[in-house]
């Protein structure tokens, strides 16, 4: 909790009020306790209050129950990561208390359910303990029928009072969330909330108040990465999708299944991953780029069909919400270990486009970019998100949907003749005439996975295989030339350049801020166009002594993570080294910095 210097004490002997610019609240309980709902309300409130917010959650991979946490960081200024340490721990059970107290800052506050938690004496000296009989008091407030229901909302009331949150906004959020169900549900929830709020009024010696946020003047929306990506696809004009359930991709596909029909589109739950990608390719062939998606194992299964998309030069968007691998791996944990399969996971020479959004907001815009690149370059585009960003909630400026939403209805008008795989086409880019298009010459194209001539007919001519392979490569080289050089965060010259990709951007930027504040010369380069890479990175690298590629994947057989390996292959630059980990969690800022120090101290770098 960053406290401002001004500490106000309320008059009349009430609780002390401290001004804070940000706070990290970790809620620990079991997955069925609705702790995500508490975090969700806090995040949405922050969004409506023009504050910045970022959340982090873990989910057990068990079917029901199991320990789970939801962490929310709210700030009046910029929030880049979900926070290394918590200011407040809300613990529902003994295991929540014991397993998470280590994440609490010194003299942080533990708010615990005294119906379930017995505090530890040593810890009581180190942290401020506030015991509330959350379970009992909830039952008392809303009646004894539903033993564990409502205690999350009661606890939300406690937190609301503790941070002097906007009660009327919160009550409206609660009402919006539960309205529509049985009318008493919303009332019961509000009763629980008010009971918690009222209880805290009298039982806490110190309350906190957020300093006013920096005015943005623009409305904010609050959602997680899966939601942003799904809505981005809809905005981009995608009207067909197919998928197969797999964590953590399933939520995204559920949104598409429910939303697409409103736009006249269709989403099919396919019999397997192979069918899903095939259906999407069939729909793309029908004239409008379609989407499929999955997580780790599913991407392996889709590999052959994606290769067909490369060969037939068929536009396609494939979402891969990465999780711990290989094989079934760790389904509910984050890992960035699918970069290689995304870029190179096809037999034969099969270049494709790979994008990795850096934030929840970026998920929305990356989806649109993916659709447009797939269409413009007639190629499969893989979007690499991960478990962390898919469930992470962030607030961002409301997009101007009227201008962002695009119409990509296919052009089926008659044409004189058509040659999809025209070797003389500018930059080697293929244009398809979708079925239904009348071609007056009477010569019709075929799309195929066999090497082919300009009309799509099979050939085993060495000359044509050379020319067509080059064509499929050339168009992506042309794309690379149009990509903006990634922006450097921090000074353009210095000692250490951190390089990251995908969802770790916020943590790395915060690491740069912390390092620079401590007088260390650290900058960061974040790459979202993973394949093809933008041009000119070597000029950025030239400004630094050390280039450390920070990834959530293994250092591999030769000592480099997946992006590090790619960059080394591309730039033959011996300064490029890896900072890697595979503990299933996002990078904490202090861990990044500790690893940088370690790296600099190694004999190789001194």
């Amino acid at each position: 909790m960053s406290e401002s210097t001004a500490k106000a004490t309320a008059s009349g002997g009430g609780p002390k009020i401290s001004k804070v610019s940000e706070a990290v609240i970790r809620i620990a309980g079991n997955s069925q306790d609705g702790i995500q709902a508490i975090g969700g309300f806090l995040a949405r409130l922050a969004g409506r209050s023009e504050q910045e917010v970022m959340t982090f959650m873990t989910i057990p991979s068990t079917i029901s129950g199991g320990p789970s946490i939801f962490q929310v960081r709210i700030g009046s200024g910029e929030v880049l990561s979900s926070g290394d340490e918590a200011d407040v721990l809300l613990a529902f059970y003994q295991h929540s208390y014991e397993n998470h107290i280590g994440f609490l800052k010194d003299s942080g506050v533990v708010l615990y359910d005294s119906s379930h938690v017995t505090p530890n004496e040593d810890w009581q000296k180190k942290y401020r303990h506030v015991g509330v009989g959350i379970s009992e008091l909830t039952v008392e407030a809303i009646g004894g029928t539903a033993k564990d229901k409502g205690k999350n909302i009661f606890a939300l009331g406690l937190v609301a009072r503790m941070f002097d949150l906007d009660v009327s906004k919160l009550e409206r959020l609660i009402d919006e969330r539960f309205r529509g169900k049985v009318s008493t549900v919303a009332e019961t929830a509000l009763t629980a909330f008010r009971a918690g709020y009222g209880y805290m009024q009298t039982s806490l010696a110190e309350h906190y108040q957020f300093t006013p946020p920096q005015k943005r003047g623009k409305e904010q929306v609050v959602m997680n990465g899966n939601e942003a990506l799904a809505y981005g696809l809809l905005a981009a004009g995608v009207r067909f999708g197919a998928g197969y359930p797999i964590t953590p991709w399933s939520d995204l596909m559920e949104i598409l299944r429910n939303e697409l029909p409103k736009y006249g589109g269709t989403f099919v739950q396919a019999e397997d991953e192979l069918a899903a990608v095939s259906m999407a390719l069939g729909a793309s062939y029908a004239g409008r780029v379609a989407v499929t998606g999955s997580s780790g194992p599913g991407l392996s299964l889709k590999g052959e069909a994606i290769g067909w998309g490369v060969m037939a030069e068929m536009p396609l968007v494939v979402v891969d919400v990465q999780r711990g691998g290989p094989s079934t791996g760790m389904p509910t944990n984050i890992e960035q270990s699918d970069l290689n399969i995304a870029c190179f996971g096809g037999h034969g020479d099969s270049p494709r486009v790979v994008l990795a959004p850096a934030s929840v907001e970026d998920c929305f815009y990356t989806a649109i970019e993916a659709v447009n690149l797939a269409r413009r370059y007639s190629v499969p585009v893989i979007i690499l998100t991960d478990q962390a960003i898919s469930t992470r909630i962030e607030a961002f400026s409301m997009p101007d949907l009227k201008t962002v939403v695009q119409d990509i209805t296919p052009d089926l008008s008659t044409r004189a003749d058509h040659k999809p795989y025209d070797l003389k086409a500018a930059d080697g880019v293929t244009r398809h005439a979708a079925p239904g298009t009348r071609i007056e010459s009477g010569v019709y194209p075929v799309v195929t996975g066999l090497e082919h001539d300009e009309l799509g007919h099979p050939t085993s001519s060495p000359k044509l295989h050379l020319a067509m392979t080059a064509k499929r490569r050339r168009k992506l080289q042309a794309l690379a030339r149009t990509l903006p050089k990634p922006e450097l965060f921090g000074a353009p010259e210095g000692n250490v350049l951190l390089v990251g990709w995908g969802s770790t951007k916020g943590s790395l930027h915060e690491a740069v801020e912390v390092a620079r504040a401590a007088g260390d010369s650290v900058s960061c380069l974040h790459i979202r166009n993973v394949s093809p890479l933008p041009e000119g990175l070597e000029q950025i690298f030239d400004g630094f002594n050390h280039i450390f590629v920070v990834e959530v994947n293994d250092e591999g057989l030769y000592g480099y993570g997946q992006l590090a390996g790619l960059l080394r292959a591309r730039y033959c630059d011996g300064r490029i080294q890896g900072i890697n980990k595979t503990d299933g969690l996002t990078w904490r800022v202090r861990d990044v910095l500790a690893r940088v120090k370690e790296k600099l101290a190694s004999p190789k770098n001194s």
């Binding site: 949405r44 969004g47 409506r48 919006e176 409305e219 904010q220 929306v221 609050v222 959602m223 939601e227 809505y231 905005a235 067909f240 197919a242 029909p261 409103k262 736009y263 006249g264 589109g265 269709t266 099919v268 019999e271 192979l274 069918a275 899903a276 095939s278 259906m279 999407a280 390719l281 069939g282 729909a283 062939y285 029908a286 004239g287 379609a290 052959e304 067909w308 037939a312 409301m398 949907l401 009227k402 939403v405 119409d407 005439a433 979708a434 079925p435 239904g436 298009t437 009348r438 071609i439 009477g442 019709y444 194209p445 075929v446 799309v447 195929t448 996975g449 066999l450 007919h457 099979p458």
Partner: protein, 298 residues
């Protein structure tokens, strides 16, 4: 609905206009017959180039799209049906024909066959069954009879073969028919009925591989001393159990429409979901529909 004058004036396509590349099949291959009758079907039913799409997987028979002068897609092994599903659901204006062999349908793509059938996706699937892997030069296929000597079963095929009719019936196909390349008139009739069926229509067409399984279907060919047995007199095409029993008659069995019922297609069901959901957002442009969601997330 009136047809534009230009459409009426268009002459039926001739074989010459419909033939593309010369087929790469071996001389005497049964697949020639299927191709010729596909052309005849388009000519007879006045289907224009652009209104039909020919989709195939991998195998000898799956080279089909290259030989047809119309939009076509040659997809990967076993996945022609899901590819065609995406196409069919996106484009109600097209006739989607899928061609393939027994390996595509019952081995590598077996799962898709079952699910496409049960979902009743509107398309026609014609399997040219030669009971052998021809493109890879004589390995055992899922429909090879027990005892068939292939390169992978030099002592004769061991496993119980798939019965395509029973497989289709069990999977829930709404149109199930059997024909053979040696009876062109029958083949055309069945194709026409399949095309007119609103739903998933499946045809097994025996198609001899003269190179690797010569004479496999002689017992069904009167010209080779066999007998072409039509469906038993009075067979009720809506009687699933009867169809299943007839499908159990030992080879060469019966030929004709085994089963045909009308059920709502996947296409119609999805269209109905669309209609219902679009009713709720009536009059709104796409961006306004999305705005509703974003407003809820403020």
């Amino acid at each position: 609905m009136s047809t534009p004058l230009a459409e009426v004036e268009r002459k039926p396509l001739t074989k010459k206009e419909l033939a593309a590349e010369h087929p790469t099949w071996c001389p005497g291959c049964g697949d020639f017959s299927v191709l010729a009758l596909y052309f005849k079907l388009m000519e007879k039913r006045r289907i224009w180039h652009e209104k039909v799409t020919t989709v195939a997987g991998i195998g000898c028979s799956s080279r089909f799209p290259y030989f047809v002068q119309a939009h076509g897609a040659h997809f990967i092994h076993g996945r022609a049906l899901p590819f065609a599903t995406g196409l069919s659901l996106s484009r109600p204006d097209l006739h989607v024909f899928v061609f393939g062999g027994d390996g595509d349908a019952f081995s590598i793509g077996g799962n898709h066959f079952n699910h496409c059938a049960r979902k009743n996706v509107k398309l026609t699937y014609l399997v040219m069954d030669n009971q052998v892997y021809g493109l890879t030069k004589k390995q055992t296929s899922p429909t090879s009879p027990i005892g068939f000597k292939s390169k992978t079963d030099t002592w004769g095929a061991q496993d119980e073969p798939v019965n395509p009719m029973r497989q289709a019936l069990t999977a829930g196909a709404t149109f199930v028919a059997r024909t053979t390349h040696t009876n062109p008139k029958h083949l055309l009739e069945v194709m026409e009925q399949a095309m007119d069926h609103d739903g998933f229509s499946f045809i097994e067409c025996l198609s001899e591989c003269t190179e690797f399984f010569e004479g496999a279907f002689d017992s069904s060919n009167p010209r080779k001393g066999g007998e072409f047995l039509e469906m038993p007199q009075g067979h009720d095409v809506t009687d699933e159990m009867a169809a299943y029993r007839i499908a159990g008659v030992p080879f060469p069995g019966h030929f004709g429409v085994f089963y045909k019922v009308q059920k709502t297609t996947k296409n119609a069901k999805e269209a109905e979901i669309n209609r219902r959901l679009r009713e709720k957002v009536k009059g709104l442009e796409d961006w306004q529909i999305l705005q509703q969601n974003f407003d809820r997330m403020k």
